[in-house]
Symmetry: C2
Subunit: 337 residues, 2 copies
C-alpha cells in the first residue's frame, strides 16, 4: 500500500482507467469523515438501504435488485450459480467474465468479433456474456439490436454488464428493460461512473426469481456500513454526481484529433471517452514504458491484464491540458523510432 | 441508516454485542480521515497487504492465510466449498454456521451440549464446526482437549471460529496450530477484538492446499482499499490495540457479583467477559423491552437471532458505572414482577 513503487504509480497522470475521473467527491468525503464512526457499525445483512434507494432510482422493484461486492462480485456470483453451463463470450470483453467462467467450469465458446449482434451463433448456448459499452474498447451495441437479440433467443440468458452506460451519448440498455425481458440479467456498479472503486459496491438487476436464487449464494453482510453510507449519500444527492458525458466526449474528440495527426497509428471506433489506439508497427508496451519513465503518464496496455494486442493501448480522455501533453509525448516517441 | 429507530438504537447503552467496546480507535480514525481519498482507489485482488502483515504476526506462511469478508464471509466460503457434506455442530453455537450449512445442503447433525469434547459422536462426520470461546455463551474448550480431538480424528476436518481468542485469559487455540494439525481450519476476524465490524475483514488460516482451494471460490477484490488500510494500520501498531483481557474480566466479575445478589436468576459459566444469565421464571425478552424503553440499555435475547432460550439473555460487561446501572435496573424489574 505504501511501498515506494505504489506511490510512484499514484503520481502518474493516469489515462489507463475507465473511471469518470472528473467526479467531484469533496462533499462525499466530508460526509464520510463526519461518519467515520461507522467503521464500528455492524453492517446490514443485504445492504437493504442501497437496494431500497437504488430500486426507486432505476425504476425496478426492490426484489429485482441484489447489491454485490462490486461488479466483480456480481459476475463471479452469477458464474458460480450457473457453474458448468455452456457460455458464449464475444472477445475482446471484460477480463473478469473469463476468469469467473473458467473458475466455475463453464464450457466457453469465444467468438472473435461480431458485426451483427442479432446473428450470434447461439445454438446450444445457455448463457451469453456481454459488456456494453465494452470495457476493452468502448464499443457499444445499439439498444434496439440488443433488445431484438434477447427477444429472438428466449432460451438463452443474457448477462450484460452496463456499468458504463452513463458514459455514452446514445441510448443504451436500462435496468427497467428486465421487465420486458425475463432472460436478461444486468450487472452494474457505482465504481466507474462515480469514481468510488474503493467502496466495492455493484449490483445485479434481474427478475425476482433470478435475484432470489443469487441472493442464496451471496455472502451476508459483505457491504460495510461505511460503504452503504457512501452510496446512500450518492443516491440522495444525484445532482452532485451527474456525469457530464458530452463534455467528456468533447475532450475525447479533441484528443482523438491530436492523435490522428500523428503518423503510424490508428484510432479504433468507440462510443465512450476512452478508446483503443493501434500502433501500426510498434510495441505499445514500450510506448507505455516511455510514458511512465520519461513523462509521468500511463496508458493501458496488454500487460495490464486487458484484452489488447501488443501494439494496442487504451486511453481515457482526461482534461484538455493533460490530453495535449499525452499527444505530444506520443508524437515525440513515434518520431524517434 | 438514518431512520429514527436506528438512531434510538445507537443511543442505547449496548450490552448485547460481543465486541471489545473499549478499543481506542481515535488514532485509527484520524489515519483513515487522512486517507479518505482511498474511496477512489482500486482494491488489491486478494488483500495481499493484509495477508503479508498478518501471516508474520500470527506466525504462519502467507499461503496459509486467506482474507475474507468478515468471519461471516469465511464461514460461508468454507460451507460452500464443502457443500452437501456430513457436518456436526454443537448447540448453542454461531448462528452463521447453521445459516451457511443449510444454504449449502449440508447434512447437519446437531448435538445439544457436550461435557467431554474428546468424545464427540464423529462416526460418519466429515466436518465438525466449533466456536471457541463460544459466541453464544462465552464457553471455552481447553486447548489440550481440542488438540487431542483433532489428533484422534484425522478423518474429520474441524472448522473452528477463534475470533474471540483474545477475550480469554486461558490458553486457547493459536493460528500456528494448523502446522501440527492438517485437519484444522481456523476462522477469525478483526471485527470483534478491534471493534471494527464496519470494515468487514476476517480470515481463514489452514494448510496451503486448503487455502488454495478456498481462494478459488473467493470473490476477487472484495476487500476495499480503505479497509485494507485500516487493518494495515492496526497490524503495524499492535501496542495501540492490545486488548486488556484481565481488566475487562475484572469488570465482568464485578457485574456477575452484583447480578448474583439478585434473586431469581442464574449466571451460566463463561470464559469471556460476556456471559449468559438465565431467569428462573421470567421472560428475558420482556426484561429487554423494559431495559430499552425505560432505562436506555440493551442486552442480547433470543429474538436477536441468537441461540438463547426465551428466559436467557447474554450480557457483555462494559465500564463499571454502566454495569452497576444495568444490575440496578434488572433488580428493579425483578422485584416488580
Amino acid at each position: 500500500m505504501r511501498s515506494s513503487d505504489t506511490t510512484e504509480t499514484k503520481q502518474l497522470v493516469d489515462f489507463s482507467t475507465v473511471f469518470w475521473h472528473g467526479a467531484d467527491l469533496s462533499k462525499l468525503k466530508m460526509h464520510l469523515i463526519d461518519n467515520i464512526d461507522l467503521i464500528s457499525a455492524v453492517p446490514e445483512r443485504s445492504a437493504e438501504t442501497i437496494s431500497r434507494l437504488l430500486s426507486r432510482r432505476i425504476e425496478v422493484r426492490e426484489d429485482e435488485v441484489l447489491v454485490t461486492s462490486g461488479s466483480t462480485g456480481a459476475i463471479h456470483l452469477i458464474a458460480k450459480r450457473t457453474a458448468g453451463a455452456n457460455s458464449l463470450v464475444i472477445s475482446p470483453t471484460h477480463q473478469e467474465f473469463k476468469v469467473a467462467l473458467a473458475r466455475n467450469g463453464h464450457q466457453v465458446t469465444e467468438i472473435d468479433s461480431c458485426v451483427d449482434i442479432t446473428k450470434l451463433p447461439l445454438e446450444g448456448i445457455q448463457y451469453c456474456w456481454l459488456c456494453t459499452p465494452n470495457i476493452s474498447d468502448g464499443r457499444l451495441w445499439s439498444r434496439t439490436s440488443l433488445l431484438t437479440l434477447f427477444k429472438e433467443n428466449p432460451n438463452v440468458t443474457f448477462i450484460v454488464d452496463i456499468s458504463m452506460a452513463a458514459f455514452v451519448i446514445e441510448e443504451t440498455l436500462k435496468p427497467s428493460d428486465i421487465k420486458n425481458h425475463k432472460n436478461l440479467i444486468l450487472v452494474s456498479s457505482f465504481s466507474k461512473a462515480y469514481n468510488v472503486p474503493g467502496m466495492r459496491v455493484g449490483y445485479v438487476v434481474a427478475r425476482k426469481n433470478i435475484i432470489a436464487e443469487l441472493r442464496e449464494s451471496s455472502t451476508p453482510c459483505n457491504i460495510s456500513a461505511f460503504a452503504v453510507e457512501a452510496i446512500r449519500f450518492i443516491l440522495i444527492h444525484p445532482a452532485q454526481f451527474t456525469l457530464p458525458a458530452r463534455k467528456w466526449h468533447r475532450s475525447a474528440t479533441e484528443l482523438k484529433a491530436r492523435l490522428s495527426a500523428i503518423d503510424g497509428l490508428e484510432i479504433l471506433p468507440s462510443s465512450t471517452a476512452f478508446f483503443v489506439v493501434r500502433l501500426l508497427d510498434m510495441d505499445a508496451v514500450k510506448l507505455n514504458e516511455y510514458l511512465m519513465n520519461d513523462c509521468g503518464m500511463k496508458v493501458a496496455v496488454c500487460t495490464d491484464g486487458l484484452e489488447l494486442k501488443p501494439n494496442e493501448f487504451r486511453v481515457n480522455a482526461l482534461d484538455n491540458e493533460s490530453n495535449r501533453a499525452l499527444a505530444d509525448a506520443i508524437a515525440t516517441w513515434m518520431s524517434n523510432r
